[in-house]
């Protein structure tokens, strides 16, 4: 099992056009829909927004990890977006964000191994040096390559 089970080149956009949080969530959700990973953009976006209403998903250092868990998620997935102009986001350090990981989690119990993949993904993203390097990636290919490398390394040394 590897990172490509939950994301691919098509679910990354390092030149996201979104000007605010809602636009970013919708733009990234569309990538997941196109890749057949969610069955409904509306339903998924609603789940993400409900989660947003509970508390901040901006983790600090200009990175946010919004997420939704709903039946509209067909496969555990993540879409990644980067904006050049930081957008307002409720964050633990009260700073706007540039880097957004939108996580789609299914409700089905059959997907437990994939849910565990998503949990590893969140673990990898807790390291600032990794966040910073991802922030500097110039294109989608580079992003996927760098992220895969860190992810594999983490999985190998997982304790």
């Amino acid at each position: 099992m590897n990172l490509l089970d939950v994301m691919n080149l098509e679910t990354i956009n390092v030149n996201l056009q979104a000007k605010n949080k809602d636009e970013a969530i919708v733009e990234l959700s569309k990538l997941l829909y196109k890749e057949n990973r969610i069955s409904s953009i509306d339903e998924f976006v609603q789940a993400v927004c409900e989660r947003e209403a509970i508390g901040e998903t901006g983790m600090g250092n200009h990175m946010a990890i919004p997420h939704g868990q709903t039946d509209a998620v067909l496969h555990a997935s993540v879409a990644v977006g980067k904006v050049n102009v930081p957008i307002e986001w409720e964050s633990l350090d009260d700073e706007p964000v540039n880097l957004i990981f939108l996580i789609a989690a299914p409700k089905s119990n059959k997907e437990v191994s994939h849910l565990s993949m998503l949990s590893q993904l969140a673990s990898v993203l807790s390291y600032e040096e990794i966040q910073n390097e991802l922030m500097g990636c110039k294109d989608n290919d580079e992003f996927l390559r760098v992220f895969t490398q860190y992810f594999d390394e983490y999985s190998k040394n997982r304790q």
Binding site: T57, V112, L115, S116, S119, A122, Q159
Partner: protein
């Protein structure tokens, strides 16, 4: 010094695991042995062993929801904080616990 703990959050997708990872990393830096059980959407991961709990000087629960199996920690000093604190200031949190326990 040994600390065991649990991280958990509302949906159990992101905060639970970020807090866990940061607390462990902070422990390494401060020379505190930190073991954390994650109670997330994938169920219980990295479950604490009886031995780890027995050897613990303190128990740290960083969570926004009710965690399972709190009775395992009977008789141990217990610190409860919001999960966000584990993400935001893990080193501070561990240092405070250490000072409180006089270790």
């Amino acid at each position: 010094m040994n600390i065991v703990g649990i991280t958990s959050c509302t949906v159990g997708i992101a905060h639970t695991y970020m807090a866990r990872e940061r607390l462990i990393a902070a422990g390494k830096k401060l020379d505190i042995n930190v073991k954390i059980e994650a109670q997330g959407s994938a169920g219980v991961e990295y479950q604490l062993t009886d031995e780890e709990i027995q050897n613990a000087d303190a128990v740290l629960i960083a969570s926004d929801v009710v965690v399972a199996g709190k009775d395992r920690f009977k008789g141990k000093p217990l610190i409860e904080v919001p999960v966000s604190m584990g993400i935001k200031s893990p080193e501070n949190l561990l240092t405070q616990i250490k000072t409180k326990l006089g270790k």
